[in-house]
Amino acid sequence: MDAIELSGISRSFDIKGSRLLALDECELRVAEREIVAVVGPNGCGKSTLLRVISGLLPPDHGRVLAFDSTVAGVDPRVGLVFQEPRLLPWRDVLANVALPLELAGISRREREERAREVLRLTGLEAFAEAYPDQLSGGMAQRAALARALAPEPDVLLLDEPFSALDAMTRERLDSELLSLWRQTGTTIVLVTHSISEAVFLSDRVLVMSQRPGSIIADVPVDAPRPRTLSGSGASKLSAAADKVRAILAQAAPEEAAA
């Protein structure tokens, strides 16, 4: 059984009267506990793809399955982390992390207990009472990650979650994400701009074509886990990265430098 299965997904948008095809016959399978990264040129529909998987955006054609049952509307088994933290500025971190549980009608005592647990998991315990404007970018994105984990989703979707952060913070959060993955066993689908990040995190890197987006390559990353940037698997990681880069260069020549 696959955690996520997309077949024949197409989705278009009406922009100022003209029809723009964002996704064209997209196929995708993600196994349980797998980490899959999606890379592709700017505007190729990566974010649209994640929104379709989450159920936020219904596809025009095709089927979305999560654990063999159809995703119709936003699916509680799937959690989504956005590019920006999107924390509610009037709530402290604890109340922000508890938000999804509150919306699901879970009692205050239970949701605060659960939220504190996730804060511990993400190293944010000391920040429970802090407000979003008091957090650094990395801390805020950690809080957003904690919030997505609070309802214990089976699948976690990340939409360029660390792209606004500096390189050091980003590497650190990448490592933390892997350790969270080991502890929670969540299936992860991640959209990223960074080829090195994609390769470092994932079991497979899916490469998307230019718009209208579809998946044109599936590059396995067979470096052993746990991974480090300097360890023995580093050469396997860079080999996979080179392969992804070569495919992207063919798919979108003008963006090959990215």
Partner: protein, 276 residues
């Protein structure tokens, strides 16, 4: 990531947090000094005008005479009953007007159809002077407390409805999408995201609303009423012919407006977090 300790969410906006070392009297002086200074200048200019113009006290009483009348009016109980009547009208009117205003603002923000249907009439109603409307309302509904509350409510309804509408329309769509990603119901979207997010605008419009409600109460009392500060002004100007008392009443009305305004500001400080 554990190198920096979290700055606790204490009262960051109080002056105490800004400069903890200073003694209390200096902070008080800094916060209230300018207000008192401005009042002193105003009073001195007033006194000078009275002296230079040599006006009789039934045209322009001196500040000292007004102050005397003010203290006298409160001690003898001339002002107090009227004050409480007006305050009741203002508070009830504000409660009714802001409830209706907030609900209408939400409706206007939510439904394009409602906005198209109602907006022109709400604007037209606002453009009609309350001064002209007040006698009509007195004619239809009598001159009791209900009518006067209605006039207060009408006058503060508009800014609060518009403030709420603008506030809710300008909620970050990314937060709305966030709510959607956690399957928030329409009601939850309103109570957990939209209203808290629009709260600064709603409370800002209530600042305007509360001062208008005071004006509304006085107008309503002029249109018909047997008690209230508006009635007292008429009495002082007419049968009592006590111009200093009229000034003392004006002072009371102004102070009521200022204090109510400051109360709304204080509520705002409590409810709305200002980033540190």
């Amino acid at each position: 990531m554990t190198t920096s300790t979290p700055r606790a969410a204490t009262a960051v906006e109080t002056s105490e947090a800004r400069d903890p070392g200073r003694p209390l009297w200096r902070r008080l002086l800094r916060d209230t000094g300018p207000v008192i200074g401005a009042a002193l200048i105003f009073i001195v200019v007033w006194q000078v005008i009275v002296i230079i113009g040599d006006y009789p006290r039934f045209i322009l009483p001196s500040p000292l005479v007004v102050a005397e009348s003010f203290v006298d009016g409160w001690l003898k109980g001339t002002i107090a009953p009227h004050f409480w009547t007006t305050l009741a009208e203002v508070l009830l009117g504000l409660a009714v007007g802001s409830t209706a205003g907030i609900l209408t603002g939400i409706l206007l923000a939510r439904s394009r159809l409602a906005a198209r249907m109602l907006s022109p009439y709400i604007v037209a109603a606002q453009a009609t002077p309350i001064l002209a409307l007040a006698p009509l309302i007195a004619l239809w509904f009598g001159t009791g407390l209900g009518s006067r509350v209605l006039i207060c409510a009408l006058i503060c309804f508009f800014p609060i409805a518009v403030g709420t509408m603008v506030g809710i329309r300008s909620v970050d769509p990314k937060l709305i999408e966030l709510g959607r990603s956690f399957r928030a119901s329409r009601r939850q979207r309103l109570t957990r995201i939209e209203v808290p997010s629009a709260l600064p605008q709603i409370l800002g419009s209530m600042r305007i609303g509360v001062t208008l409600a005071v004006v509304g109460a006085i107008v309503a009392e002029w249109a018909g009423g047997d008690a209230g500060l508006g009635v007292l002004i008429n009495l002082a100007r007419g049968s009592m012919f006590d111009i200093p008392l009229m000034f003392a009443t004006l002072l009371t009305i102004a102070l009521m407006g200022v204090v109510l305004y400051l109360i709304i500001v204080a509520i705002e400080r409590r409810l709305v977090r200002t980033p540190s």
